[in-house]
Amino acid sequence: MSYTAVIWNNVEISWSGVIVALSVLAAILLALTLRSARGEPLLPIIALSLLAILFSVPLCRLLHWYSNPAQYASFAAAMTDYGQGGYAPLGAFFGTLLAALLLRLCRVIRDLPAALDCCAPAAALGLGLGRLSCLFTSSNRSKFALEGEHFQRLPFMVRSAQGGGEEEWRIATFFWEAAAALGICLLLLLLFRRLSRRERFEPEWRRGNVFFLFLALYGALFILLDSTRYDANYFRFNGFVSIAQIFCAAALLGVLVICSVRSVRARGLRLWHFLSWLAFLLCLGGAGYMEYYVQRHGNRFLFSYAVMGICLAAAVLLCCVMLASTGGRRRRPAH
């Protein structure tokens, strides 16, 4: 993927860059298609895409600089020379959100939740395709090696020449991230039409639910997958959980809070609300504990990630239950 695709004067663009650009383009086209399917204007999405790119690249660089200051001569050098250095993908999320808020303030986007609903499957598609650009780089290997010949092949695993002079097969992190993101995209697309139809016939049903679902699903998956990386980005004050994990956990919690507020408004406060919140906190705590556990007992990573996966899946399920309950009671037809 590092092969040069285009050289123009002294500007070199590799195939990985081309793939990332194409994935962004695919995401934009999908968002436009979904928007068109709902009969909503397209120009705001084009404006959002442009602004999101302009915000995302510097924010991705800012996050990377924050975690890896030693790789840059100075902050100014990091923020002005985009031909060198790395990028933290989480910045793209903040860039897009910032762009959407700005356009909402300027009233270019009138219905922000509806716009975000269209962007959510598109974002998942872009993330999935974009990750494929790094499929054959040295970062595409997790901290953990797996035995068992069934999986010891590309693209599921990557052969690594480290460790005792022998070769070992490590989980290909970026492949699994790409697969997860594309799976989420597919799920959201399947649900998109169904959720759109529901909001048409049930006045209580709120826009933005596709976006919340995306946050919950992708956040949970990313918490687990980012844990397997050996080159994650960390806050300077904490080298235990990565920046991405913290924000994904916050996103998951945020989704639960918003859906809980809507659910309580729609159905009133119920006992099951409290039980759900308690269960959610236990699940999130369990996932956090397993992150601590896997860092202490790296050889038990299969057990740790299995339990972490179950906890996160349960947390997502609780979010979905809360989200489904925001529509109010279904009225039975009068006899």
């Binding site: 962004v24 383009l25 009969g39 442009l50 001569a73 509806a114 780089t137």
Partner: protein
């Protein structure tokens, strides 16, 4: 009620057309910018690389002319870089290879006979190679590199042997290409920036301000009271100076001038001198008596070097014994631990702590001197 107001598509007007005319090209430009920013630069193994812009077309043409005269004039070509160059020409991707054993490597040695000029390598038919690693090599008319691994007691040792055509191919590569730059990068990144065929981690001078630091012939620090120094002169020869021998600025500058020193390494200790283990019982740097991963470099003849990294822990004294057992007579220790790194073709080849590189301020790089298209 649903939040916000429903947006419905209004009929397209002239304003929409104007906006689209502006937004779409801007979006295309933004996508190009994304492609440029997210391009992976430098190489993984076997990846095409550009020659750096600083390597002049004039030099390339000069070498092409020399190639053309090869059949007519029987004078041995000497390829060289500018003194203190920090970037070499891109190596020939065809020059890299892997041999399963020493017998498979022999044809490479035969082709390199002109470069070796009768000098024997430390790698030979008796070397107990780790079969899973084999012999990884690079050869062109200006440089021969071979890397192998051995299991010594409990440790996996990675050896890299180099024979250069000219001393200018021994490059001291600092992050940011200037002394004192705060830039720290992975050794593989620094190696790719330098177009190095082979690289070894350096002394991580930015981590510690102790010792004598010389870079491109300029003395930056001169307190050699605590650590041994390895000076490298313009012929690529090592000069060992023990701790306490040079402590004054004027003395250091005089030494640098007298010996035509280009740069220094300031970690140590001097491990082997005249074939004897001279590791001191106590050394100020690097916890030499404790068990850590180690890294060292030896010079065994003009432009002939051997490097070793040790995976799993060992003392500096033990590492020195292992180098002596391989016939080394002059060995100097550089930064160990997770810093111990050998890079071939832009990729780390030795096992290291945590199975990952760490960012460093500097490396020692060996590059080709032959310019290509």
């Amino acid at each position: 009620m649903n939040s916000g107001s429903h947006e419905k598509r209004a009929p397209a007007g002239p304003l929409h057309g104007v906006l689209a005319l502006f937004l779409l090209p801007a979006l295309a430009a933004a996508l190009l910018w994304v492609a440029y920013c997210s391009s992976v630069r430098g190489s993984e193994s076997s990846v095409q690389r550009l020659s750096p812009p600083s390597y002049s077309v004039q030099r390339f043409l000069t070498e092409q002319k020399a190639e053309a005269l090869d059949e007519l004039i029987a004078v041995k070509k000497i390829y060289r870089l500018e003194e203190n160059a920090t970037v070499a020409p891109a190596p020939d991707p065809e020059g890299y290879g892997t041999a399963a054993n020493y017998e498979e490597f022999l044809p490479v040695l035969e082709r390199a006979a002109g470069l070796l000029e009768g000098e024997e390598l430390m790698l030979n038919g008796e070397t107990p190679l780790l079969p899973s690693f084999g012999i990884r090599y690079y050869y062109d008319d200006s440089i021969l590199v071979c890397i192998w691994q051995e299991r010594i007691e409990y440790a996996t040792c990675t050896f890299a042997e180099v024979r250069l055509g000219h001393a200018s191919q021994l490059i001291r590569k600092l992050g940011g290409d200037s002394y004192g730059s705060p830039i720290q990068k992975y050794p593989s990144q620094l190696a790719r920036e330098a177009n190095a065929v082979l690289a070894l981690n350096g002394d991580f001078y930015r981590f510690q301000n102790t010792g004598i630091h010389v870079y491109q012939g300029t003395v930056y620090t001169w307190d050699g009271s605590k650590v041994d120094t390895c000076f490298v002169d313009s012929e690529g020869d090592f000069h060992f100076v023990k701790a306490g021998e040079l402590t004054e600025k004027e003395a250091v500058e005089q030494y640098v001038a007298d010996n035509d020193i280009l740069f220094s390494l300031s970690f140590g200790p001097v491990m082997v001198e005249d074939g004897e283990n001279v590791v001191p019982p106590y050394y100020w740097m690097g916890q030499s008596r404790d068990y850590y991963a180690r890294s060292c470099i030896a010079q065994e003849g003009p432009l002939h070097y051997l490097m070793m990294t040790v995976y799993m822990a060992t003392t500096v004294r033990d590492a020195a014994d292992w180098m002596i057992a391989r016939g080394c007579t002059r060995v100097y220790a550089v930064d160990g631990g997770q810093s111990a790194t050998i890079v071939l073709d832009g990729v780390q080849v030795n096992p290291s702590q945590f199975n990952a590189e760490r960012t460093l301020s500097d490396i020692i790089a060996f590059g080709s001197a032959i310019a290509r298209n």
